[in-house]
Symmetry: C2
Subunit: 439 residues, 2 copies
């Protein structure tokens, strides 16, 4: 055994190859990169020809063999999916090896079990690449923002949907056409469900939320709405009104006074297409880029922006995690205490609050019969439910009937839902054509 840190790489797809490329060309990077060695690599097919030059003898098609190899000190899981990824991660932990993974699905669903196992075994499971691709966000949350009470996280954290929405706005195109284009360009998968229906963003906001608020929540309970039913007419109205539509993942601390030490913290978590005012920094995040805005006390607002996916960006994040663990290995010879910032511990209870308590502005598009007095009737229903209106405008419409756009001030989801179910039953209202949140 030499004095380098041995990496066992599971998977040599885009991310795995990106990591191998960095490790094999350390010049010009942080000197710690040169202390890392690719000891063993699990691939699906050993015989396949590859773009990267590797010592064939370190390849195997058995990922468990890699994890068990005594010369492997850090396991990099780049296979994806729930199984066998989860078993491999838990095996590594049980053997006292730290793990680096970009696997948001397994962390969002089994993060608690995995981090408890890691803490008991005295090892790290680092996941910088799981959210925001190359953007440093996990580590800053763990190590740079610890002095803050985090109030809210607002993120564009799915590159596929952000690309689709950006193109729909730019080209005035409809969803299906842009999706097809995105699939051809490799920005969307053949089965795009996880992205376009918001599940990938929900995985990621659940991970960020656990780090920011100190406790994990029920992943399956996150209110999730995707972009597949979004009509391009909404994007047009958004632009006319001074907004862009983005698929946002939002997590906020709903406790009235965040400074009080209450027993369990109510969180509001949601993923949904949202009107973002043009002067808001998230409105200019286009294409496959991601951005995460964090509001905390006393820091105010900080935003992290960058490539949300891609081999290079993801590999950069994976290597960051490897370097962090490697650095600690070099520091600690005798001591085995975990770094209290890098290791992930829940430090308070959190729970998903009733979604009706979440407050935000709203965009509502109604199709009504074109008679005098209809705006008055709609306004009355909102007024009765204490929904304060910012603007209510009748647009020219090609539909039979009138098209009315309402923007509300900040009200609870409960208030707006109650109002809309009453409005739906007004005889002049033909249809509630759209209802979206606004920042």
């Amino acid at each position: 055994m030499n004095n380098k840190i041995g990496i066992g790489l599971l998977g040599l797809g885009t991310v795995g190859t990106g990591v191998a490329n960095i490790v094999k060309s350390p010049d010009g990077r942080h000197p710690l990169v040169s202390k890392i060695e690719l000891t063993r690599i699990a691939v699906r097919d050993i015989e396949r020809s590859r773009d990267i030059e590797l010592d064939q003898s370190i390849l195997t098609d058995d990922p468990f063999e890699v994890v068990k190899d005594p010369n492997v000190q850090i396991v990099v899981e780049a296979i994806g999916g729930i199984e066998p990824a989860k078993s491999l991660i838990l095996l590594a932990i049980s053997l006292g090896k730290s793990v680096v993974t970009a696997n948001k699905a397994v962390i969002a669903r089994h993060g608690k079990e995995i981090s408890e196992a890691a803490n008991n075994a005295g090892v790290y499971v680092l996941i910088e690449a799981a959210v925001g691709g190359g953007i440093p966000i996990i580590e800053p949350l763990k190590q740079s923002l610890g002095g803050n009470r985090i109030r809210k996280i607002t993120g564009i954290i799915n590159g596929t949907t952000n690309y689709i929405l950006s193109q729909m706005a730019k080209e005035d195109a409809n969803y299906q056409d842009v999706l097809k284009e995105a699939q051809n360009l490799g920005y969307a998968e053949a089965n795009p469900t996880a992205d376009v229906d918001g599940h990938d963003a929900a995985d990621k906001i659940s991970i960020l939320s656990g780090l920011a608020f100190g406790g994990s929540i029920d992943r399956e309970g996150i209110s999730t709405k995707g972009i597949s039913t979004l009509e391009s007419i909404e994007i047009n109205y958004a632009r006319q009104l001074g907004y862009e539509i983005k698929l946002l993942a939002i997590a906020e601390n709903l406790s009235i006074n965040a400074t009080t030490a209450i027993k369990s913290i109510p969180l509001g978590l949601r993923v949904e297409p949202t009107f973002v005012p043009k002067e808001h920094p998230l409105s200019v995040v286009n294409g496959v880029n991601n951005a995460i805005l964090i509001e905390g006390d006393p820091i105010g607002e900080v935003m992290f922006y960058g490539p949300g996916a891609g081999a290079g960006a993801t590999a950069s994040a994976v290597v960051a995690d490897i370097l962090n663990i490697g650095g600690i290995m070099l520091m600690q010879k005798e001591d085995k205490t975990l770094d209290p910032l890098l290791s992930s511990n829940s430090w308070r209870d959190c729970f998903l609050a009733n979604a009706r308590e979440i407050e935000h502005k709203n965009y509502v598009r109604l199709i009504t019969v074109d008679t005098p007095g209809v705006i008055g009737k709609i306004g009355n229903v909102f007024g009765k439910n204490n929904v304060s209106i910012q603007s209510i405008v009748q647009f020219d419409s090609s539909h039979a009937g009138a098209e009315i756009i309402v923007i509300t001030h900040k009200v609870s989801k409960g208030q707006i839902e109650d109002s809309l179910s009453e409005i739906e039953h007004l005889e002049e209202v033909i249809q509630i054509a759209a209802h979206l949140s606004c920042l």
Copy 2:
């Protein structure tokens, strides 16, 4: 002695008070905050009444006493300026104590001496708050981007000048009026030189550059141009042409092939008001906000955005550093090896390249006599010097004579300077009224 980590705070101004406020109210913050204790605080006047409740017995007016106090384990220097800050930092190091400071002036000028002393003593000197206020940028550079070859850093890292430029653009106001307003609001100091002449930004880019490129450079050699002579007419033209003017601090690796292990890395560093295209993410950074864009291989572009100053933001960054050092103290009982990522070591030689080699686009405004053929003559001079022109436009002018705006493609500073000194001598040219770089 209890089992808390003892902080010695030097200075109880805005930043010091912000830090004390965080430490005294740990609820809702990372649990490590509750392990920190304010052991001793140096103030200028012990008797002065303060907004913060503190045990009077820990106050002293002798900062050296704080540094020497055996119960102080981490020294937080929040005095600013070169002396006595530098002596206090070096004293703390010599006593084996880690230091946290927001003092960019002392780090930019004496960073090498300080970090060598710290490395020899086996302690840390962390400086997250020195650049970008609350924005996590130092730590991400050290800990999250180590797998990359950094090509370029482009930053808006002075809040005062960004506020002034934003207001000049928004209100169509002139420099002197906005400066006065900024002084009244506390965004600019009574003596604004360090900010408006670019020296503060030069301090900061020199610090970022040392971290990103692995070697320190001669701070005094950085080409620095401020905003005090910028005319509002330039801001108007910029907007008409699709740009905003920002005071940018730029550091780039000029070696032709960044992948080759060359002996010493030529860097181009400059601070200057720059035309930023409206579609560029830095163009929308307004007011006292800061943003730092980093380009690296393989990550691509990442940007960090947030409040560049203010008590809360700066305190957040100082506490981040305290938590990092505190975390390591809790991890290491026997071992004393420094964290190779957090500790700051030069790992290669860098030098300031000849500024004439730096390449960028240019904006040039000329006042000429209003005769036919003048555009041709100017175009010829640029052509002779191999300066490729993107656009050359004659604007209506209230001056006697014509006003000609030239935007060039990317050329070396040398080429553009040679061209301009020739153009200056053309008989039709009355004046080179402005010359600015463009992104």
